[in-house]
């Protein structure tokens, strides 16, 4: 697998300082944490900052370019009939890489179906979720081994799982220090309306669970703009449940990294949950079956394109001379290589054996399932040699 140099890019404790600390220009808007403007300008925020080496800056950029390229491959594979469906992360790279890179090895991720970028930050072979989208399995990975749960399709359900898992961490005595464990639960703006998500806020607050709720407000739940879900800014929801909420520019990988790092650290040190609203935009369709031109106009999309998370980081790297054209070209080539490799391997993914229908329904087995398996096999054997 090609999943090379993936050092965790979170704020280093004792990192060698970069050549020069990028100057912080103006102060970002206070209601949304921003450290990098759409124009690629590094700004300061009264509460949040990152202190990264050049290498770390470049790594964040590299991450975003690669996951964007892999994501495009997902869309292409679907168009070519290799996948049943694909849920693109286009536009949400900064939110996903910034938050993903804020996680420690021991942390646990509860994703939706769109967190391919976060998955990438966990040093997981990016092919892992393709079985699901190809229709050869339902996820099928050992979510504990990867410290990355299976994709959850029922909107919001995972927020409670995340909270329960976090309660378990507390019970295990694994909070309270730098090596404490914490959980991050991803969900969308649409999901914020679900009872389960709100119940998870109740639980997290009452049990002071080490969980961070990371809501990617990409402005849409399929066709419905966020105004159909909430009148108040989503990040304000947390306060009434008894824990802090913060809105971050979700197209700003630095701000997302900073805010998530702080929240995860608070959680792992026993200071309870945080709600993060990453304000971003779904640049593509909801999934490959969706046609967004039916419900939003190109003007809106173009306005958001000007806030693109990848290009603002590139501008920043260029301006600060942290990377040059050769570097960018190299990354593009690397991303392309990753994509081609992925494509080849996805196409080679074999179909499951028909009998797999009956596998793993129960851990302890079931006479009914076994009877059906036998009947199934006998039935299929009866066709052997026939043209069926």
């Amino acid at each position: 697998m090609v999943n090379g140099d993936q050092n965790r890019a979170g704020p280093k404790k004792k990192a060698a300082r970069g050549r020069k600390k990028p100057a912080a220009a103006a102060t970002g808007p206070v209601d949304m944490v921003q450290l990098l403007t759409p124009e690629g300008e590094r700004v300061s925020h009264p509460e949040y900052d990152v202190d990264l080496s050049d290498q770390q800056y470049r790594d964040l950029y590299r991450d975003m370019v690669i996951v964007r390229r892999l994501d495009a491959e997902g869309t292409a594979l679907q168009r070519q009939g290799q996948l049943g469906i694909w849920a693109s992360l286009l536009g949400q790279e900064a939110a996903q890489i910034g938050s993903g890179r804020a996680l420690a090895k021991q942390d646990m991720v509860f994703p939706t179906y769109r967190e391919h970028g976060v998955l990438w930050t966990r040093d997981i072979d990016p092919i892992m979720p393709f079985g699901l989208f190809r229709g050869i399995d339902l996820g099928g990975w050992d979510s504990r081994k990867y410290r990355f749960q299976m994709y959850t399709i029922v909107i919001g359900a995972q927020s409670l799982h995340a909270t329960g898992y976090a309660m378990g961490i507390t019970k295990d005595g694994k909070v309270g220090g730098d090596d404490g464990e914490a959980v991050i639960a991803y969900f969308g703006d649409g999901a914020s309306s679900q009872g389960d998500v709100n119940e998870s806020f109740v639980w997290a607050s009452v049990y002071n669970a080490p969980v961070v709720f990371f809501c990617q407000n990409n402005q849409y739940a399929i066709s419905e703009p966020v105004i159909r879900q909430a009148k108040a800014p989503l990040y304000k929801r947390a306060d009434g449940f008894g824990f802090p909420g913060v809105r971050v520019d979700g197209n700003d990988v630095l701000a997302t990294l900073a805010v998530t790092t702080r929240a995860m650290d608070n959680a792992r040190h026993g200071n309870g949950p945080t709600f993060i609203e990453a304000y971003t935009y779904r640049m593509g369709a909801h999934t490959t079956t969706d046609d967004p031109t039916r419900y939003r106009d190109s003007g809106e999309v173009e306005a958001w394109r000007a806030k693109d998370p990848v290009s603002r980081m590139r501008t920043f790297l260029e301006r600060q001379s942290i990377a040059d054209t050769d570097y960018f070209d190299g990354i593009d080539a690397e991303a392309q290589q990753h994509a081609l490799d992925l494509r080849e391997r996805v196409i080679a993914l074999p179909d499951p054996e028909p009998g797999a229908i009956f596998d793993h329904v129960y851990s302890g087995g079931s006479p009914l399932v076994e009877r059906e398996r036998e009947e199934f096999q006998a039935y299929h054997a009866s066709f052997e040699g026939s043209e069926h």
Partner: protein, 328 residues
């Protein structure tokens, strides 16, 4: 008047007519408005009837059902769309404890004329939770009525009848057949249409009866056609109403043929097929040449898409079961 409509379009046309006929009819659901629903069933309705009557709701199914109940108490007639079969469960409490019971609780003073539209069944290669057949849960729940349309004509009329019903109706639509076309006789009115809670013998036959609903009706017809080529005459019964069951046509059929196969996509265990088998056995004990057999989805969660062809009942499995009824 006759029109050729796809099944999805026929539901939409029925909704439109119901909204024209009764200004109290409103549609609610995720993406039903501007988008027209993920299957475009409600396409154009928000444009024509306004945001007040075609409501894009927040993403929360319990909220959809719970507010629909309040709206119905207020005198509206909500038609709720659940986007996919597997997403009805967050609303289960509101459906089972409130929707099903309010009329009984109120001694008949508070009817809840609510329709819950659910695209049902598999076969479209989707990911988890998009291909399920949850009808047994609702049929087991006293106080609900449950129906399933399977062709354009029925889709058009049954949705209107369901909306006109003062009882809550869970309305299943055969997801994978949305694109299939059929003739719809749009003339006449509701009172002239084939009654909603009635089963229909769609093809007469003498040797065995195949009972099906929703997507499986086509499979049953195909099986009957194939069997006919082999000289076996199958009667095809389209159940249409899943609760209450309309058993008389089923009994009449099995009294004639002596053999019955029930086909459904849902798992067999404690499914509607079991109920039909139990009732037929009880009421037609001496007419049965063989036990009622069931051809169903297996008793597993709905599998990954590339396994669904094996999972779902098809023509061959139906014929195989028919053969087995002759083995007794």
């Amino acid at each position: 008047m006759s029109q050729t409509l796809r099944i999805g379009g026929a539901v939409g046309a029925g909704l439109r007519r119901a909204m024209e006929d009764d200004p109290k009819v409103i549609l609610m659901g995720e993406d039903v408005g501007k988008l027209g629903g993920v299957f475009r069933v409600t396409d154009g309705l928000q444009k024509d009837f306004g945001e007040d009557r075609v409501i894009d709701t927040p993403l929360a199914e319990s909220g959809i059902l719970g507010t629909a109940i309040g709206l119905a108490i207020r005198g509206w007639r909500p038609v709720c769309e659940i986007q996919f079969n597997g997403f009805v469960y967050p609303a289960f409490d509101q459906i089972v404890c409130q929707l099903a019971k309010m009329h009984y609780r109120s001694q008949g003073t508070v009817p809840l004329p609510i329709v819950v539209r659910i695209p049902c069944g598999g076969g479209i290669g989707a990911v988890e939770h998009h291909s399920e057949s949850p009808e047994a849960y609702f049929a087991h729940t006293a106080g609900l009525k449950v129906v399933s349309c399977s062709n354009s004509h029925d889709a058009y009329w049954m949705i209107q009848q369901a909306i006109a019903s003062d009882d809550p109706v869970i309305f299943f639509e055969p997801l994978r057949r949305y694109q299939e076309k059929g003739e719809v006789d749009t003339s006449g009115d509701l009172s002239q249409a084939y009654p909603l809670f009635s089963t229909k013998v769609e093809r007469e036959g003498d040797d065995a009866t195949v009972v099906a609903w929703g997507s499986m009706v086509k499979v049953a017809h195909d099986a009957a056609t194939a069997a006919a080529e082999e000289g076996r005459s199958l009667e095809v019964v389209n159940l249409r109403t899943l609760s209450p069951l309309d058993m008389e046509p089923v009994y009449a059929s099995v009294r004639k043929t002596g053999r019955m196969v029930v086909v459904h996509e849902a798992p067999s265990n404690v499914g509607i097929g079991a109920e039909i088998a139990a009732r037929v056995t009880q009421d037609c004990f001496y007419s049965l040449e063989s036990p009622v057999l069931r051809v169903t989805g297996y008793d597993t969660p709905y599998p990954a898409a590339r396994l669904e062809e094996e999972y779902l009942p098809d023509l061959d499995r139906v014929l195989d079961a028919v053969d087995r009824t002759f083995g007794y």
